[in-house]
Symmetry: C2
Subunit: 419 residues, 2 copies
């Protein structure tokens, strides 16, 4: 069968399954999640065997280090995956929630009710556990999902998706609600991106190249984020010990992730005290600093000069851009010019300054006196996360179950007609 | 100046103005709206003169009837426009609303707050009043707007946009927050659709050709609806007099709009009683019927045969497709196969049937015992309407002020860092 036909039919089946899933009650969906956790545990040998095929192929291609690690479904990864499924089963089901209800002058009672988005496409790279994690969130929120994983994890993904489908069948849910694209042919991705009639939204998860490719070619809406150029602004009224702890945590606790700080902005009135203190702490953690002219004057050899490119850079590494600024409005102007709308924090003890920053900065998470590293669905208490959106449409920030739903209007009438 | 440069700079200025608008308080925005209403009333001669230029050009091109009418800024249209502005000023401002707030185990207090979308592009056809209506809604919700009206209304649109900008300047708001594309060159539209860096969302308003063009070429998200193939399902437990009233209203009260009924589905157990009754009422209103075989058997000459194409047709005219179906699940299957997800109503006196329909049909508005004609922002009580979305992303159904906003996360910390 032609690849076009394969993808078209798979997408069409997903639409039908999505229609059916939108009517399934929570109990049955939770039953599937719990049974899936048990089944994954019982199938650990089968999973390890499939995973080994991918690892062998990776070794043949000379893959090492983090790239090989990401492929590996270790006992620990599998145990976390199963715990994750039990956690998702315990989360409230957003579908059917009536978020508002009101009555019109003519007696029409109008409300809004959460419904699933329909069919969600997930295009992801190496880590095979995404197959289960993403599909579980889509399923719990009443959606059908089409999964397209990386070719390097194809055997693992296929094994996991088959187990998921078996469980769906056993509990009486449509197996077409969880489908893996059954080929590693790259043409399949382009075909998927054309199925706007059957797929409601595409969520790419991976590097910027993948995300830009999906955004460019998709005919349906895409939920995405390109990068996180996150800022901490240390205000003149900051508690400088707290500021040091927050800045070190934001930069160095896990530098390779999107919510790590990339630029630190420091109010000129505290720069001379704060910069030497924080620079010492950074040095201990192996962070190298790139400073503006004023920073260089204070820190001397402890930093190298920052160029214009440094202000917009997402290092994802133990490197930090540092700039001394005149006041909060310069800080906000800097953030609006160079930031990516991901996460910004202020450290201040001043009530008015903190609230003005919170009000005036329009990033997906704005924090007062806390680390940027909290921009994460689990840390913020959503209970789950399928990604972080940095565009303001549909969803802004971490996306949990609720963000995989929409709302329909409904109305209870007694024969009302338009005059 | 090249058209590319014109559009690029205009969009860039809109982004800056949008940033500023997101920080403006409600009082100032409402003051601008009220002053604009007064100014439009005082400028009626200037507006009429500009409008006359467009009307003269229309006459030269031989435009008549509804097409010419839509261009005309009559006293009545202008009065309605000013009243509309006063109504929008009286609506609550969605910006800054905290929709939720909770506390994490580590003491971090997390919330979500409404913020503007940023920069909204509106691409519309003939009616020049959209210039004011759409810009007012975008402005009240803290957004900057870029307007691109039809070339046939260019003089009217320019006059109205200039008045809006004058008022913005007077009250101290950025004039770049309300910009009209200063050329009728069609190339400008394509350039606008490329400015994804500066324009957050595009809202096309007009015919299907325009909407499809925008959806195909826009690099930013598009809020749109293509068509309304709306259904009324008359259940076996329907009050048949109520069903007749609702069906006639849904079809004939204003047949040329997207929330008019296009297909009527009738349960077989009431078809023999209901169809002759409703057919007589339709005949009085000049509605011609296209029926399935079972409908034809009952109505004979009172209807013509429906073909497969009739089920998905948006007539926007006094024509109705009619189908007798076995039960509610066949009705839902029909709606899922041929519907457009816009508006569906059931007429029934049975509690369980009504609620099952409400639960199982995922259209932007689902009604029990009321006319489909209520799918409208004003009728449902949103207080305003900038369009109706039939895709489930960001917004589904009529869009008012709230739908022109997004939500950011925020967090109040006391020095929290990630462990």
């Amino acid at each position: 069968m032609e690849i076009q036909q394969v993808i078209h039919e798979l997408s069409q089946r997903a639409r039908r399954a999505g229609n059916a899933m939108s009517r399934v009650n929570t109990g049955l969906k939770d039953q599937a999640l719990l049974r899936l956790a048990a089944r994954l545990e019982a199938s650990h040998e089968q999973i390890a065997a499939a995973n080994q095929k991918d690892l062998d192929a990776a070794d043949e291609r000379g893959l090492t280090g983090a790239k090989r690690d990401r492929l590996r479904l270790s006992e620990k990864v599998l145990a976390d995956l199963c715990q994750g499924l039990r956690d998702v089963a315990a989360l409230p089901d957003p579908v059917g929630e009536v978020t508002k209800m009101w009555t019109r002058p003519n007696g029409l009672r109008v409300g809004q009710m959460r419904i699933p988005l329909g069919v969600i496409g997930i295009i992801y790279e190496s880590r095979p556990n995404v197959t289960i994690e993403a599909a579980a969130l889509c399923m719990k929120s009443g959606n059908a999902v089409i999964l397209r994983g990386g070719s390097e994890a194809f055997h693992s993904n296929t094994c996991l998706a088959e187990i998921f489908q078996d469980v769906m069948k056993e509990v009486g849910l449509p197996t077409d609600a969880v489908q893996l694209v059954p080929t590693t042919d790259r043409a399949a991705v382009l075909e998927l991106l054309k199925q706007e009639e059957f797929i409601d939204v595409m969520i790419p998860r991976g590097g910027e190249t993948l995300i830009r490719f999906v955004a460019e070619h998709a005919r349906m809406p895409v939920l995405k984020h390109y990068k996180g150029v996150c800022h901490v602004y240390v205000d003149q009224h900051a508690n400088l010990d707290m500021a040091t702890e927050i800045c070190v945590n934001a930069k160095a606790q896990r530098p390779g992730v999107c919510n790590a700080m990339e630029t630190m902005l420091v109010h000129e009135q505290v720069a001379e005290t704060f910069l030497p203190q924080v620079a010492a702490a950074f040095q201990e953690r192996g962070v190298s600093l790139r400073g503006c002219e004023r920073t260089q004057k204070i820190l001397g050899d402890a930093c190298t000069p920052a160029s214009e490119e440094d202000w917009g850079a997402e290092y994802l590494d133990l490197i930090l851009a540092v700039r001394v600024i005149d006041d909060m409005s310069s800080a906000i102007e800097h953030i609006e010019t160079y930031g990516s709308g991901h996460t910004e924090a202020i450290v201040t003890d001043d009530y008015a300054t903190g609230h003005a920053f919170l009000q005036d900065v329009q990033s997906s998470l704005v924090l007062i006196n806390a680390s940027t590293r909290f921009n994460d669905g689990f840390q913020l208490g959503l209970g789950a996360e399928i990604g972080i959106s940095t565009s303001r449409l549909h969803s802004f920030g971490p996306m949990g179950l609720e963000e995989l739903t929409s709302k329909k209007f409904f109305a209870f009438g007694q024969g009302q007609i338009r005059e």
